[in-house]
Structures are given as structure tokens and as C-alpha cells.
Amino acid sequence: MDYESAKVIGAGLAAIGVIGSGVGVGSVWSSLIATVGRNPSAKANVELYAWIGFAVTEAIALFALVISLMILFK
């Protein structure tokens, strides 16, 4: 295997880490929907935490993406 193809395959493998973040973000929103469904008056209080949880979980996907890009463009 030459260097170029190994690089591209490695970048693809590094992007697999995005799966975990996808599960995490889905879990954040599903909890929010379940919470608001049970108690609609709590929406204003929990929505803020949902956005923070979303941003913090999404960042994990971007860590994987950054590593993938570093392999690809270095």
C-alpha cells in the first residue's frame, strides 16, 4: 500500500469516532423530548441544559473530524 492510499484510509478510519457523538447527541435530544412531553412547563429550564449538552457532545465528533483532517491535509 502506498503512502497516499494509506493516508486516505486512515482519515476515513479516524472519522468513525463520529458515531459515538451521534449516539450522544441523539440521547440528549431524546431526553429533552421525553422530559418536555412529561412536563411541558419545565421546557424553559431544561432547554438551556440540552443546548449545552448538545454542544459539549458535538465537540467530541469534531475532535475526531479534526484528527481526520490533520491526517488528510498534513
Binding site: W51, I52, A55, V56, A59, L62, F63, L65, V66, L69
Partner: protein
Amino acid sequence: MTNPIEQFQILPLIPLKVAGVDISFTNSSAMMVVAVALSTLFLTLSVRSRALVPGRWQSLAEIFYEFIAGMLRSNVGSEGRRYFPFVFTLFMFVLFGNVLGLMPIPAIGFTYTSHIVVTFALAAVVFIGVTVIGFWRHGFHFLRMFFPEGAPLATALVLVPIEVISYLSRPISLSVRLFANMTAGHIILKILGGFVVTLGSMYVLPGVFPFAFLSAVTVLEIGIALLQAYVFTVLTCIYLHDAIHMH
């Protein structure tokens, strides 16, 4: 199609060199000047009338003020009020950097928050400042933060290193979150823009579909730009809370 990471290149506008150190005025510094000038102009001009019943511009400035003041109140408490100027400045700087980066500004258009050197400098200031505040307020009792109250003494061997590592990784996660969000967003926009140009130049009609998708992603990116500025500030508030109240 050009390289999607070409847009992050720093270009010197006014080359300067002092004692062997490159301090050129670059497109990154130009955008920082624009962001600082715009936010200063916006905040001073909008509240100049000091009306009791605010007009449109003054309401907008008051929304920003109330937003950060409320964030500090709910996350840090009343002791957080003295740190309001710093937190507000941080929020406006990151917000303007994110939002202006999405604007197609000729010659100097650039997102300075998409560079880890900028976000890490901001995060390092927050981290060092928060640590100094913690030691200043609590003295060496601040080290108690690395060992939770009520845990058995035998668990210290495991808990203390974990807490120390998680504390030290705060500036890294804070800065990488912002920089990675901005970088990834701009790369996605560039790649989708490439689809529109290549497909649209061959057949006009199919080019509409990637263009529609690109428009949706642009809206998402504006949301991300606002959200990431908010998250950066909220986490700063939470770190400040930890330093002042220790859990």
C-alpha cells in the same frame, strides 16, 4: 476546485518584523480590529441616547447585556458581578468573530476563531484567571477541589489524578471545541459550495439541489456561531463558579 482548507491561511497585509519576530498585520488581525471596532461602535452608539424607554438599537444592546448578566447571575451568583466586564467582552469578541467569519468580506474575510492559537489564548486566559481567583479566595484550601468531600481516603489514589487531569484538560477542551466547530463548519460550507459550482456550471437545474442544501447548512452555521459563543461563555461562568464556590 481549490483546497477546502485554503480559506484558513493567514496572509500578511502589512509585513512587519521587529527583532526577528514576525508581527505582521495579517488578515486575522484585521478581522479582530473590525470585530472590536464594530462591537464598540454598536454598544456605545446604541446606548448614547440613554432613553428610559429604549428604542430599537438600545433594546438590542440591552438584550446582550441582560443575557450575559443573567447568565452570570444564574451560574456564578452575586459574586460573579465583578467579573461581568471580562465575561461580556469575551462573549462579544467570540460572537463577532464567529458571525463576521461567515460574512463574505472582500480582501480580509477571515474567521479568527477557526485558529487554535486564538481560541487557546482565550481559553488559557480564562483557565489561569480562574485558577488565580480560586487560590486567592481559598488559599491552599482550593486544592480540596481535587478530592471530593466525604469520599473515603483510600480512593484518593485514583480520584486525585483523575480530577487533576480533568482540571488541566479544561483549557484544551474549551479551545478545541470552538476552533473545531468553526473549522469544520467552514470546510463543509466550502465543499458544498464546490458542489454547487461544479454541478451548476454543467447543468443549471441539478445545481439547485446542492444550493438549497447549502442554504440550509448556512442557517445551521449561523446557529452554531451563536451557540458556540454562548457555550464558551457559559463554560467560563461554570469554571468561575467552581473557583468561587468550590463545587
